[in-house]
Amino acid sequence: MISKYVEEGSTYAGDIDQLILWILVITGFWFMLALGVFIGLIVKYTAKPGVKAKYVSGEDPKEKRWVTWPHYATLLFDVVILIAAVRVWTHVKIEQPPIDETVRVVAQQWAWTFVHAGPDGKLDTDDDIRLVDEMHVEMGKTYGFELSSRDVLHSFSVPVFRLKQDAIPGRIIKGWFKPTLLGQFDIQCTEICGIGHALMPGRIYVEDHDTHQAWLKAASPVAAVGSAPAPATGGTK
């Protein structure tokens, strides 16, 4: 359902979309049923001259089952949704698959800094590529990210990946994603961070292997070939 509006760009985007679809089907069914009963009762029991209301206390178990059975149904379907939700959550946020490469994401008022590992695939070496509001990843590789903030809370969100994680000053929060769709997409800040909150648009470039290699060569500050180095920003910590 969500994929109709926002592309699925990572391995787990489909899982999340499917979970949402299931919840929609289950709750939608019960919602329509409850609403139907509700409207039906209103129509059927609108006051008619000479007809007195029924005297039902609802304390008798025989009467009460009209409430208790839907109640058990709610419980049952809650459990179904719960299991599905926890499975998806565990896969996305708790499990940590083997990481091919790590990207450091630093949020601040009001920009993103992305520290890429560079051609050697390792962080904190001379060939690290530091970009503002621009992130480059290779399709099909599993990336880990280390998210931090320099001032206030921010939230690192890539909607096509169905990825969202708050950044907290003083902490480094780890997570992962594996892009599956070529193209360039939005990176958004989804936690209010001051007057420039609407001015924190980053872009993520998901590239195939060759394009990515070419970019690495061009952008790395110590690369032998390539044009001008990428725009540098103030160092991270």
Binding site: I42, K54, A198
Partner: protein, 587 residues
């Protein structure tokens, strides 16, 4: 329950009854206008103070939403009545809208105004147990209103860190750029809490000690129970946030570092303190709205409330469980992800008592004799709209789905589908239902129905588009979406415009209500003392009740409040709580 024949069931009952007339003459001496309407200790006057202040604040909250919705639909265009909306304007307006609507509209109207009006009348006594404390509570509340409004005028403008006020943004003026506004805001919120703590203590003590003789636990009308449970819930949850507010003020003004990670503090601590209060707060305002609905559907459906005790127990269960769900607001806020699983479980558990309460209300309609009066329409509207709010909450409580929906317009639409029915639909049900009692005149039914239908339809036309926007990933608190290509996909701006246009309709139609309200106060047809033929004690008092409430002496109670269409009563389909049983009836 209906056989509660003993008139003096309580230990204190006889004692109280003996004093009724000795004390009945107080308050009849002439008072000046100021003493009567501003310095009064009469619970009904204090209700009106809260009610009218709440209505005034609703105008402020409504103006704020008008300005920022216009900005969202037509980014960068000057808004009539405001001008060009800057980013700091926008942040201040959304913060004001959120905090005003919850703390200065829903709370004072649903809890303070209705609690003040209904508790003494419905339990059959002449006032609150602490009338002067009651007056003080309103005055503190009024001070908080003044401080909040002043925060717009100080240097740097009003606070713009959203109603959740997450530090470090809210804690340092270098980050939020509102050096005075943020402190005034948190001070106003803290004072408002103090006002409601005082009010809550008064409410709870009044119900516990001052019920009419013969009124047992299960003879108390549901709306009174709900306001009491809400007050207790508020008292039990707000304390940590009061402490948090003090800590935040110190962080802002003295330079302590409770929430500053650089100096050994922790910004997440605030989130825990805030949501430990913030989530029960949802139920603090929901429960009174549920109570109002119970009263209105039974009176206008001429039907006994289905399973009274179940409603009461589910309300208590909801209150208790609501203390264990707070971190579902923080799934992706950097808490331990394993903790999220626990809170997913508790969050889905809380859906059970709430759903059951709604089922009970629907079951109450079975076999009823429904009169589709204006208050009934509002009450039924509340059930229908709240159902939508509850169901969409499941998407957000399910942690996996929340990763996508967190902080999108889906969340916003979800909680407006709960808060709007609570703060407005249920309030309109209450006002239209108790208006004859409050002012002694009837409101106009035809205009009332016009108001109901236009409000309800335009409300849905605001928030259904916002659900769709949320599904497309549109996220909250962005003053200008044009900076994000993925927020400007085809059709998204049309949905924003649709929501804004519907909002303009919703706001305009409130004029109908205000006109009807004011006109009816002065020129409406006179109401007799029980125009709806209702059972509860307030309808035994004259309309409007004088100081002291029951000039014929305080009533005794013989049965529960929902004895409608009782088979023993023949053609008469109501059986007032205060009416003594016929001679020789079985006890």
């Amino acid at each position: 329950m209906s056989s509660t024949a003993e008139a003096h069931g309580h230990g204190g009952g006889q004692h109280a009854h003996g004093h009724d007339h000795a004390q009945g003459d107080h308050g009849h001496h002439d008072q000046g206008w100021f003493m009567k309407y501003f310095w009064s200790t009469d619970h009904k006057i204090i209700c009106f103070q809260y009610l009218f202040t709440g209505m005034f604040m609703a105008v402020i909250g409504g103006f704020a939403v008008y300005v920022f919705r216009m900005q969202l639909a037509f980014p960068g265009m000057p808004v009539p009545g405001w001008g060009r909306v800057t980013a700091s304007d926008y942040n201040a307006l959304i913060t004001t809208h959120g905090s005003v609507m919850i703390f200065w509209v829903a709370m004072p109207v649903l809890i303070a105004a209705l609690g003040n009006y209904l508790i003494p009348l419905m339990i059959g006594c002449d006032d609150m147990v602490f009338p002067r404390l009651n007056r003080l509570s309103y005055q503190i509340f009024l001070v908080s209103v003044v401080i909040l409004i002043l925060s717009f005028l100080v240097q740097g403008g009003a606070f713009g860190g959203a109603w959740t006020a997450y530090p470090p943004l809210s804690a340092k003026s270098a980050f939020n750029l509102t050096p005075m506004g943020s402190t005034l805001w948190i001070t106003a919120v803290a004072l408002e809490f103090v006002a409601f703590l005082l009010g809550g203590i008064n409410f709870v003590t009044t119900l516990m000690n001052s019920r009419a003789p013969g009124m047992k636990m299960f003879d108390v009308p549901m709306v009174v129970w709900m306001i009491i449970i809400a007050s207790i819930l508020f008292m039990a949850s707000v304390g940590p946030l009061v402490a948090g507010a003090v800590m935040l003020i110190f962080d802002q003004q003295i330079g302590t570092a409770f929430f500053d990670p650089a100096k050994g503090g922790d910004p997440i601590l605030w989130q825990h303190l805030f949501w430990f209060f913030g989530h029960p707060e949802v139920y603090v305002v929901l429960l009174p709205a549920m109570g109002i609905t119970a009263e209105v559907i039974t009176v206008h459906g001429r039907k006994k409330l289905f399973a009274y005790r179940t409603v009461l127990y589910t309300a208590i269960a909801t209150g208790i469980i609501s203390f264990f769900v707070w971190a579902h607001h923080q799934f992706i806020a950097g808490i331990d992800p394993r903790m999220a699983n626990i809170f997913t479980v508790t969050t889905l558990i809380i859906s059970i008592p709430v759903a059951e309460m709604v089922f009970v209300y629907i079951a109450t309609l079975y076999g009823a004799s429904i009169r589709l009066t204006t208050p009934m329409l509002w009450a039924l509207g509340f059930i229908g709209e709240f159902l939508m709010g509850g169901v969409t909450g499941i998407f957000l409580g399910a942690s996996g789905a929340d990763i996508y929906f967190h902080d999108t317009y889906f969340v916003l639409a979800h909680f407006h589908y709960t808060f709007f029915p609570i703060a407005f639909i249920a309030t309109f049900a209450a006002i239209t239902h108790w208006f004859p009692k409050m002012f002694g005149r009837m409101m106009n039914e035809a205009w009332g129905k016009v108001h109901f239908w236009v409000t309800t339809i335009s409300f849905n036309m605001i928030f259904i588009p916002l659900f769709l926007l949320g599904a497309r990933g549109d996220h909250r608190r962005i003053y200008d979406p044009t900076h994000f290509p993925e927020l400007m996909r085809a059709g998204m701006q049309d949905l924003r415009v649709l929501a804004t246009v519907s909002l303009l309709i919703l706001i305009s139609v409130q004029v109908v209500f205000v006109a009807n309200f004011i006109y009816s106060i002065f020129w409406g047809p006179k109401a007799d003392k029980n125009p709806w033929r209702a059972n509860s004690l307030e309808w035994h008092a004259p309309s409007p009740p004088p100081h002291g409430n029951f000039p014929e002496g305080l009533p005794n109670v013989y049965r529960g409040p929902y004895e409608y269409a009782h088979p023993d009563r023949g053609e008469d389909d109501h059986w007032p709580q205060h009416e003594p049983p016929p001679e020789g009836a079985k006890a």
